[in-house]
C-alpha cells in the first residue's frame, strides 16, 4: 500500500510539474467547443439543444489527446521496467497511472465544463447533470484509454491507432452521459442513466487494469 501511494504521489507530482501539457489539453477542449457555435450558428436554442453532446464529445477528444502520456515517458526512459521489477504488481502500477491520469488530466476538464456549458446556453439543471455524469462516467475514459495506451506504447506512431482502438469503446459512455443530461433538462429522472454510467465505471475498473497490465508485459518483454 505504501509503495502504491508513493507511486501515485510521484505520478501526480510529475504531471503537476509539467503543467504545460495540462494547459494545452484545456485549451484544446475550450477551442474545440468554441468551434461549434461558429460552425452551427449562434442561435441559442440550437446551442442549448446540442450543448450536452458537444461538451461530452469535446471532453472525450481532449481526454484522447492525453492518453499517450499515461505510459509513454516511463516506457521510454526505462522507468516502467524498473517499476515492474519492484514489489508492486503490474496491475497496481497500471491502477496508479490511471488514477493519476484521471485526477491530473480529466478532473480539470470537468472543472471548466460548467463555464463552457453556460456559454452554450445549457439549462441550469443540465449543468449539474453534466458535472455528475462526467464525474461518474469519466473514469471509464481513463480506464479504457489505459488499455489502448498500453497496447500502443511500444509503437513509434501509435497515436492514430490508439484513437481507432479506443473511440469505439467510448461510445456507450457518450450515449449514457448525454442521455442523463438530456433527461435532466427535460425534467425526467436521470438516476437510471447515472446508474448505468456507474456500472460501466465499475465494470471497467475490474477488467481494464488486467488488460492494460497484460498489454504492458507484452510491450516490455
Amino acid at each position: 500500500m505504501r509503495s502504491f501511494l508513493a507511486l501515485l504521489k510521484r505520478d501526480m507530482l510529475l504531471a503537476y510539474r509539467q503543467g504545460s501539457a495540462l494547459t494545452m489539453t484545456l485549451s484544446f477542449f475550450v477551442i474545440a467547443v468554441t468551434l461549434f457555435p461558429l460552425g452551427v450558428g449562434p442561435e441559442l436554442n440550437v446551442l442549448a439543444r446540442i450543448g450536452p453532446g458537444v461538451l461530452w464529445v469535446g471532453a472525450l477528444l481532449a481526454c484522447l489527446l492525453t492518453l499517450d502520456r499515461i505510459f509513454q515517458a516511463d516506457f521510454e526512459d526505462g522507468t516502467l521496467e524498473q517499476l515492474m521489477l519492484g514489489p508492486l504488481s503490474i496491475e497496481f502500477i497500471v491502477l496508479t497511472k490511471i488514477i493519476a491520469h484521471w485526477v491530473m488530466s480529466v478532473l480539470p476538464l470537468i472543472a471548466i465544463t460548467p463555464i463552457l456549458a453556460i456559454s452554450l446556453n445549457v439549462h441550469a439543471d443540465g449543468i449539474w447533470a453534466m458535472i455528475f455524469s462526467l464525474l461518474i462516467g469519466s473514469p471509464v475514459l481513463s480506464l479504457i484509454g489505459a488499455v489502448g495506451a498500453a497496447l500502443t506504447v511500444a509503437m513509434r506512431r501509435g497515436g492514430v491507432l490508439l484513437s481507432l482502438l479506443v473511440l469505439p469503446l467510448y461510445i456507450p459512455v457518450l450515449i449514457f452521459g448525454v442521455a442523463s443530461v438530456e433527461a435532466a433538462v427535460a425534467l425526467m429522472p436521470m438516476a437510471p442513466h447515472l446508474m448505468l454510467l456507474g456500472g460501466l465505471s465499475l465494470g471497467a475498473l475490474v477488467v481494464c487494469p488486467f488488460a492494460a497490465a497484460a498489454a504492458l508485459r507484452l510491450a516490455v518483454e
Binding site: 479504457i144 497496447l151 491507432l161 481507432l164 482502438l165 469505439p168 469503446l169 488488460a211 507484452l218
Partner: protein
Amino acid sequence: MAIDLHKYANPTRFLRIANAIFPWSIVTTVVLLATGLYLGLFVSPADYQQGETVRIMFVHVPAAWMAMSVYSMMAVSSAAGLIWKHPVADLSAKAAAPIGACFTFLALVTGSLWGQPMWGAYWVWDARLTSMLILLFLYLGYMAVWGSFEDQSKAAKAAAILVLIGAINIPIIKFSVDWWNTLHQPASVATMDGPKIHSSILTPLLIMGLGYTSLFVTIFIIRVRTEILGRRLRMLRVNQLQE
C-alpha cells in the same frame, strides 16, 4: 476436451483436416447459396406490407448472424491462443477478422438499402445499428493492430487482448432490441417460444444462414492455409539466411 483441442493445435494436422473438408465445403456453399437464393428470391411470397423489398432480408439477416458469430469465434480462439498458446488459434482469429468485417459491412449496407424504402432513411441511430457499426470499427481496429506490430507473436497477443475487451459488444448487439425501444424489429427467429415467422420465409432464411456459414468455412480454410504456409515460408527463408 482439452486433449482434443491440443491435437488440433498442430498446424500439420489442422491442414490435413482442413484440406479434407475444403472440397466439400465448396460444394455445400454453392448448393446452399443457390437453393437459398432461389427460394428466397423467387419462391417465397412477397410481404403484404413491404412488398418485394422483404427479400433483402435473406441477404441481410444471415450476414448479421455471421458478423456476430465470427466475432464470438475470434474471441474464443483468441482466448485459447492467450491461455494455451496454440499457434493455430491466433492464426484462425487473424484469418477470420477480414471475413467477419465483410459480413458486418454487408449487413450494414443491405440494412440501409432496406431502411430507405421502409423507414424513409438510409440510416437511423438506434441501438442495434449503432452497436453493429461499433462492431465494424472493432474489426477494423483488430486488423490494424495485426498490421502495426512487426513481431507476429506480439501482434497476436495485443490483438487478442483487444478482441476480448471488444467481446462485451456482442451481448449488447444481441439484446439491444430488447433493452431499448429500437426502430429495428426485435428477434423473431431465435426466441424462447420458437420462431415467429412463417415457414415459407423461415426455410430459405435458414438455408441462407447455413450457406453463409459454409461460405465462411471455405474462405476461412483458404486464409488459414495461406497464413500457415506463409509462416513456414518465412521460417525457411530465415533458415536459408542463417546457413
